[in-house]
């Protein structure tokens, strides 16, 4: 073997796709949609308000859907109970917040953000722990069988929601943001809620973290391979079960995180809060391409921003716009914007 050949292979066996080879088209489409909307909306300040609001909403959807991309997109578990972890996250946030009013009532940005982060951590860990139990009792039996997954996770969701109602009661509860995160910034004629900005920051950080941990480790590969042929991946020496459990826990934890973000936006909570975004989350994941973090992120933003434009321009179409978008994307790319798997 000559040296030359070796070094050549080292290059070719390294990173697969360079940045240039990436598929930029969907991103271009998002930007194009925004620009076309600008023409129709006319007023730049209204456009900006709509765009920023849509962006924040998209981030929120992404955070809630992020766990689902792992569980449904990568692991191929159609978890209809995902919403239950969102609910649990929301209620944990509520519980923690009522315990540490000191930090949240203080009009101090740093303290407030710290409080919020603490809430997120508790909610994510709590939901993750519940996810672990859920995996053991509910999901373990039904890997590979979508239909049973739908039913059993639905059952699990009902049980969790009912337990939440046993603990916290069925009445609607009010939850308030830490003081300094309330209100909005006015920039010229456009407004942005402070909280929405925070969501954009959290969403972006989450996206980058997930993107790098999946593309720089073999976890994503292992899971996809394990879903396709669990026997073979074990025969290669991997403890696929552990990985599945771990990923499920992370997915549930992310749902808990999403629950925190969502409940603060919503302002009040009831036990069925988790179900509200689930259809949207599923749409976003399908549209993005199963298992693709980037796809989930882009399509969450696309859906939300477009929904805002349409709601402003032709409100009658607001509800159908998402479906039309979904059908259009699927007709264009039957496996979603960034297809990762053949499923």
């Amino acid at each position: 073997m000559n040296k030359q050949g070796t070094s050549e292979t080292v290059i070719s066996i390294g990173s697969t796709t360079s940045l240039l080879k990436r598929d930029w088209l969907p991103i271009v489409i998002v930007i194009a949609a925004a620009l076309i909307a600008l023409v129709f909306v006319g007023s730049p300040s209204i456009w900006l308000t709509l765009t920023l609001a849509g962006l924040a909403m998209g981030m929120m959807v992404f955070i809630v859907a992020s766990g689902l991309t792992l569980v449904f997109g990568l692991m191929d578990v159609l978890n209809f109970g995902h919403g239950a972890f969102v609910t649990v996250g929301a209620y944990l946030a509520y519980a923690v917040l009522t315990m540490m009013t000191g930090l949240t009532v203080a009009d101090n940005l740093v303290l407030n953000v710290l409080a919020l982060i603490a809430v997120v951590i508790v909610a994510a860990v709590g939901a993750g722990f519940l996810g672990w139990i859920f995996e053991r009792i509910i999901v373990r039996r039904v890997y590979g069988d979508h239909l049973k997954q739908i039913l059993i996770t639905m059952g699990g969701m009902i049980v969790i929601e009912q337990v939440v109602m046993m603990i916290w009661g069925s009445q609607e509860q009010l939850i308030q943001l830490p003081t300094s995160l309330r209100g909005a910034f006015v920039m010229g004629d456009a407004v942005v809620e402070k909280y929405r900005l925070l969501v954009v920051v959290f969403g972006s950080v989450l996206f980058l973290a997930m993107y790098f941990s999946l593309s720089h480790t073999r976890i994503g590969l292992l899971i996809r391979a394990g879903v396709e042929d669990a026997e073979m991946i074990q025969a290669l020496g991997y403890r696929i079960r552990r990985l599945f459990v771990g990923l499920f826990v992370v997915g549930s934890g992310l749902a808990g995180f999403g629950g925190v973000m969502w409940v603060f936006y919503r302002g009040t909570l009831t036990a069925d809060i988790g179900g509200e975004l689930m259809i949207l989350a599923f749409i976003v994941i399908i549209m993005g391409g199963l298992g693709s973090i980037t796809g989930c992120f882009i399509s969450a933003i696309l859906v939300s921003v477009v929904a805002n434009y349409v709601a402003f321009l032709v409100p009658e179409m607001a509800m159908t716009s998402t479906i039309i978008l979904l059908v259009a994307v699927i007709s264009w790319r039957p496996r979603g914007l960034f297809p990762l798997t053949k499923r």
């Binding site: 050949g5 070796t6 499923r343």
Partner: protein, 239 residues
Amino acid sequence: MTQPILQLENVHTYIEQYHILQGITFDVAENGFTVIVGRNGAGKTTTLRTIIGLWQAKSGTVKLRGQEIQDQTTSEIARAGVAYVPENMGIFGDLTVRENMILAARRGKFDTDRLEWIFGLFPPIKKFWNLAAGNLSGGQKQMLAIARAIIEPSDLLLIDEPTKGIAPAIIEDMIDAFLELKRMQTTILLVEQNFAFAAALGDDVVVIDDGQVVHRGAMETLSSNPDLQQQYLGLALNE
């Protein structure tokens, strides 16, 4: 003689309610090359799957270097140094060739020399490095399955019918490859229908029929004796 690396003793395996392996007993000698032959449906694949732990033996023992492994999980057995090429090849079709390979390189890095060697053996692997493995041709998939099993050194290599669908020229190379592996201290247990291929490589042979071992011995004995072939394989090969 040294202790055999793998010993099966009176192994019984059930699939659902069917009694498939009905008392399989044989040894695989360290650094040797053992071939299992037998008719379709005899239980060859089941034997390999029982060894790697994909089926659970209902009774009997499977020993790897004297250690009983029949109750261990597949991943434990694999990590104990057993590599496996399944009959259906077990290719991850959604993943690229490279990704298939990197999963087999357990530390996440390739030994470049070994990779070069594989590229030399199976040129399509290199050529289609970034292609989704599901799109490979039948023979190319088979090559990938073997490449995946040999990218890391292992103590025992279980291979289920590697030559099916492989063109003669590559079979040639495969013979060389297996011989080289053998030189590199890998023990190979091969299930094979292509008797010429088996005969070219095997030291020992095990004939399975109806879930039982009907013949064990040196390859020489069988390959040179048409009567035995007629008896065990239903067909004399050197007419």
